[in-house]
């Protein structure tokens, strides 16, 4: 069938000829193909450095978006990961010293030493480095960053007290630093914080020197000085970036996602749910790679970094990836420089001998094991009439819980079983210590009988003893965990009913004490000190005052805690810690489960320079061999040519058919 111009209507073409696409569609298809690439990373900010050398970029992943870049407000891991390279802290964790952890100077020129004043109260004299500067930013006159001064440190501490900042850190300091709580209360009353008023805790001595006053000894203060909450911020920056409209332009909000830092990187881009990009700050000279702390077997290339100026790379790109699978795929393709080996990738990457599997070893990838200073457990409510009154029952529940199998199933046997509350790396953790009520089924059966429930049967009802356990349940894996735990308790005849909660609901239940057992609770160390763990069982820290969710109340434990919390780490203190460990093990306010640990797969071009998990990534210590990465990426992402050949063949066939149809029509 033809139209008036003699052209054939494509709809009227007979049979199979209708399925032959127009040649122009092939051209369009190839044009679209040209735009395809499996590299999800954006192009680097620059191709070369000013001196002509290669611009070095590292690619990492983040599982969630950061919540804020305000150092006095943000407490979550993702925010801290971004802020760490942007804000230098007064002190910082030594990247190479992890057992025990040590701090070294950051913005301060030395680690301050405790002094005792005439009034018997302790204080720390601190002096800022002359090299410490704020980044260039339009909030400063002529856009030039200025040196960090003592006033900025006081301003940071004042911000901790400002109710408008809503800092979660104030509670940690108010007991020890004078004037903080009073300043907070006064601001709350008046509705405005007076930043011009002095703060008793911070005495300004000169431009670079200040003294931190304490009301009582608090050795943990040193670790808080290595936390971003005490890092100095510029008042000009906070006041300039108020999130309001000025001259028709809305300025970013310092409290949200604007950072004017002092560290080796600045944030150049944050695209929610996609990426955060950091660029090296020219002229940064505050810190350098350590010259001590190298392991005896440290490789030569690592030793060669000693004393080098930081950072060692020019750009850091954090991709925000929520799912595990893309992380694995991108690492395999070479688009991520490292990945945590989750249980889904475990079988493919790790051999039974706990080594990198041959497939990935051949690629030059390395396997690194990290044990995070954290402990996870099941909380038992000590105010519950059943659990709180029956120690033998708590001991039986602890003895029937198979933490080893839990680790085997859910952590691919990587996470060590928690024998004590204090995790490895924290003073007071003992490798030899064994939990007397660790997994032992026979003992558990004996204990449950002694507790008055032989075979788990409640003599009053003649039915299995019923206990309710709360847990966060948001996915299939949580359900599997619950089922595993039910099975453990069922092994001594106890029937555990699971009450599923959202994370927020679970926290609420823990805070109000509305639970019998609460599964999945854990604590990651804020600082490497046993006090940071034992305070979870101190009777004065029952919510809302603190996080003693078990409502554990033991006068002897409290006495020991009060004695050890302000002590320096000495053999006497460690002896007290040992006693406290014994006491907790006997009382069983928690069923200890595991210390979080994981394997990381590291690409050959991005070897680890440090393994300190108190650092949030330690970006400024990272290195990269960009040439090797480029070469490997090409090798690993070779595009197969056969689809092109097939497409070419199809195109040729279509052309031949087209010509024949054309001939038939017009000849």
């Amino acid at each position: 069938m033809k139209d008036e111009g003699g052209r054939m209507n494509p709809e009227s073409r007979p049979g199979w000829q209708r399925f032959i696409p127009h040649p122009s569609s092939f051209i369009l298809f190839f044009l679209l193909l040209a735009g395809c690439d499996n590299n999800p990373n954006p192009p680097p900010l620059r191709e070369k450095r000013d001196d002509g050398s290669r611009w070095l970029v590292r690619y990492g992943g983040m599982s969630e978006d950061p919540r804020s870049f305000d150092p006095q407000f943000a407490y979550d891991q993702m925010s801290r990961r971004v802020m760490e390279p942007v804000y230098d802290t007064l002190l910082e964790y030594h990247p190479l010293k992890t057992d025990p952890y040590e701090v070294r100077p950051g913005l301060l020129d030395a680690v301050p030493v405790k002094e005792v004043g005439a009034d018997g109260k302790p204080s720390y004299l601190c002096r800022l480095k002359t090299t410490a500067r704020f980044h260039d930013d339009e909030c400063f006159p002529e856009g030039k960053g200025r040196p960090v001064v003592a006033r900025d440190v006081r301003y940071a501490f004042q911000r901790l007290c400002d109710p408008k900042v809503e800092s979660p850190f104030l509670a940690n300091f108010s007991e020890y630093l004078p004037g903080l709580q009073a300043a907070h209360d006064a601001a709350e009353k008046s509705g405005r914080f007076d930043y011009d008023a002095p703060l008793a805790a911070i005495e300004l001595i000169d431009e670079r020197t200040f003294r931190i006053h304490l009301t009582q000894p608090y050795p943990q203060l040193i670790y808080w000085l290595a936390f971003q909450c005490t890092t100095p911020v510029a008042r000009e920056a906070v006041e300039y970036y108020d999130g309001k409209k000025h001259g028709g332009v809305v300025r970013p909000d310092f409290h949200k996602f604007k950072a004017v830092g002092t560290g080796p990187f600045r944030i150049v881009e944050y695209v929610p749910r996609q990426r955060v990009r950091l660029e090296r700050v020219e002229g940064y000279a505050t810190t350098s790679f350590p010259t001590d702390g190298f392991a005896a077997e440290a490789p030569e290339w690592l030793m060669a970094l000693a004393g080098k100026p930081l950072p060692l790379i020019d750009e850091m790109n954090f991709s925000i990836i929520r799912e595990n699978l893309p992380i694995f795929i991108l690492t395999r393709q070479g688009y991520l420089d490292a990945m945590g080996v989750n249980k889904d990738a475990f079988g493919a990457m790790v051999t039974p001998g706990r080594e990198m599997s041959p497939k990935y070893r051949e690629r030059g990838m390395r396997l690194e094991k990290d044990v995070e200073p954290s402990t996870f457990w099941i909380s038992l409510n000590m105010r519950d009439p059943l659990l709180g009154q029956n120690k033998k029952l708590r001991q039986a529940l602890s003895a029937c819980y198979d933490s080893k199998t839990y680790s085997d199933i859910f952590w691919s046997s990587v996470a060590p079983v928690a024998e004590q509350l204090i995790p490895p790396g924290i003073p007071g953790h003992s490798r030899e210590w064994r939990n007397p009520y660790g997994f032992d089924l026979e003992k558990a059966k004996r204990l449950i009988a002694e507790a008055g429930y032989p075979g788990g049967i409640d003599p009053q009802t003649g039915r299995p003893l019923e206990i309710t356990m709360d847990m966060v349940s948001v996915g299939s894996e949580d359900r599997q965990r619950s089922e595993f735990e039910q099975r453990c308790f069922a092994s001594i005849g106890v029937e555990v009913k699971i009450r599923q909660n959202t994370f927020a609901r679970q926290l609420q239940r823990e805070d109000t004490g509305d639970f019998q057992m609460s599964s999945g609770t854990g604590w990651g160390a804020d600082y490497p000190d046993p006090e940071n763990y034992f305070f979870l069982l101190y009777s004065k820290n029952v919510p809302p005052a603190g996080k003693n969710v078990t409502r554990f109340n033991n006068p002897e434990f409290d006495r020991l805690f009060e004695q050890m919390k302000t002590m320096e780490t000495t053999p006497e203190r460690l002896e007290i810690v040992r006693k406290m460990n014994t006491l907790i093990a006997e009382e069983v306010p928690q069923i200890l489960n595991f210390h979080k640990a994981f394997y990381s797969a590291v690409q050959p071009w991005a070897p680890r320079t440090q393994n300190n998990l108190m650092l949030e990534g330690g970006v400024k210590f990272s290195v990269v061999d960009a040439a090797l990465r480029e070469q490997k990426r090409k090798e690993w992402n070779r595009k197969p040519l056969w689809p092109l050949a097939v497409l070419g063949g199809l195109l040729a066939l279509a052309a031949v058919l087209g010509i024949r149809i054309n001939r038939r029509r017009y000849v």
Partner: protein
């Protein structure tokens, strides 16, 4: 009260009562001419018969899992558990018919062979798939027990009384139907708490609208017919007309809707479990198995057997129910022979 209902003896009696009720219903309708003719037509439908056998098989498996017997020290066990007592539980995943655990970190030898492998907690997948029939049976049965009376009653009342009663019922179900179903289900489950019973209530409360519409339409048609006019002229009460004349004439629609709706309920359970608001922890269900497969599919090596067996069991039941529904529709269709 809850102890009474959770006692194994009560549950056994409830199952027996349910099956007895079903048998009695079938026996009583077998005297009805229309149902007898439908049975004759159904008997000649080979696809329908095969589908019926498959559905009965699923029902039997479900019943075997519900009925529990005292079995020594461990307390009462389901009949299915007693049949499958030889099947061992492993530590974690193992592939179908494998001899060692899947974990490359610890390839320990297995205690036994597993036709369809084992899941993350080492449970035999075949056994879990069979046990999940119970969940489907309870869900389908209890939900139907809620939505069928509701849908039938409201449908007949709307179609028979018309006017304001019809307007009120229509307004009510249109409003209910305008709320996104999944959201409504999730909201009800959150309010009632996550359990199999709450899920049945949620599905029942939201699921009667379709049946109500159907019954209303059929009742509108039936009330125009002479036998209803005759009953009215003889002075029969509304109750008599509805229960003796209208209800038997719309029952075939209820049966077909029940059969087809059953498969919908089983599928909704899978969807709700996938969204994390399905059956509670420890309940074997195909939805939970499919939900679990979400992360298993990204594993390397791939764990496919959990998904395949749950999906196959679900597919088998849903297909059989749909075929049975079609066969019943054909059997009751007066235009057919």
């Amino acid at each position: 009260m809850s102890v009474f209902f959770t006692h194994w003896l009560t549950q056994n009696l409830l199952v027996l009562a349910g099956f007895a009720l079903l048998a009695w219903t079938l026996w009583s309708v077998s005297h009805h001419e229309r149902w007898r003719r439908a049975w004759l037509r159904f008997r000649a439908d080979r696809t329908g018969l095969v589908a019926l056998v498959v559905v009965c098989l699923y029902l039997l498996l479900g019943a075997l899992e519900v009925v529990r017997l005292p079995a020594g020290k461990g307390g009462p066990q389901s009949v299915l558990d007693l049949f499958l007592s030889g099947i061992t539980t492993e530590k974690t995943y193992s592939a179908p018919l494998a001899t060692t655990l899947l974990s490359s970190a610890q390839p320990e030898p297995l205690k036994g062979r597993h036709l369809l492998g084992t899941d993350a907690l080492g449970k035999d997948v075949l056994r879990e798939t069979l046990k999940a029939c119970k969940t489907a049976l309870i869900l389908g049965g209890l939900t139907a027990a809620i939505y069928i009376p509701l849908g039938t009653l409201f449908g007949i009342l709307a179609g028979y009384f018309r006017r304001r009663v019809d307007d009120a019922i229509q307004y009510f179900y249109t409003t209910l139907a305008s709320i996104p179903e999944i959201l409504l289900l999730i909201a009800i489950i959150f309010v009632l708490g996550q359990s199999l019973t709450s899920m049945c209530i949620a599905l029942g409360v939201t699921g009667w609208v379709g049946l109500c519409r159907l019954i209303r339409g059929e009742t509108l048609r039936q009330t125009e017919r002479p036998y209803v006019a005759a009953a009215r002229s003889l002075g029969q009460s509304h109750w008599n007309i509805i229960s003796r004349h209208l209800l038997p004439n719309v029952m075939h629609l209820v049966v077909i809707n029940f059969v087809l709706g059953f498969s919908g309920i089983v599928l909704t359970e899978a969807v709700l479990s996938y969204l994390g608001v399905g059956t509670p922890v420890g309940t074997a269900s195909w939805g939970n198995m499919i939900d679990g497969a979400r992360s298993e599919l990204s594993r390397d090596p791939l764990v496919w057997w959990n998904l395949v067996s749950a999906a196959t069991a679900l597919f088998g039941l849903v297909l059989a129910l749909n075929l049975l529904g079609d066969a019943l529709r054909r059997a009751f269709d007066p235009k057919q022979g």
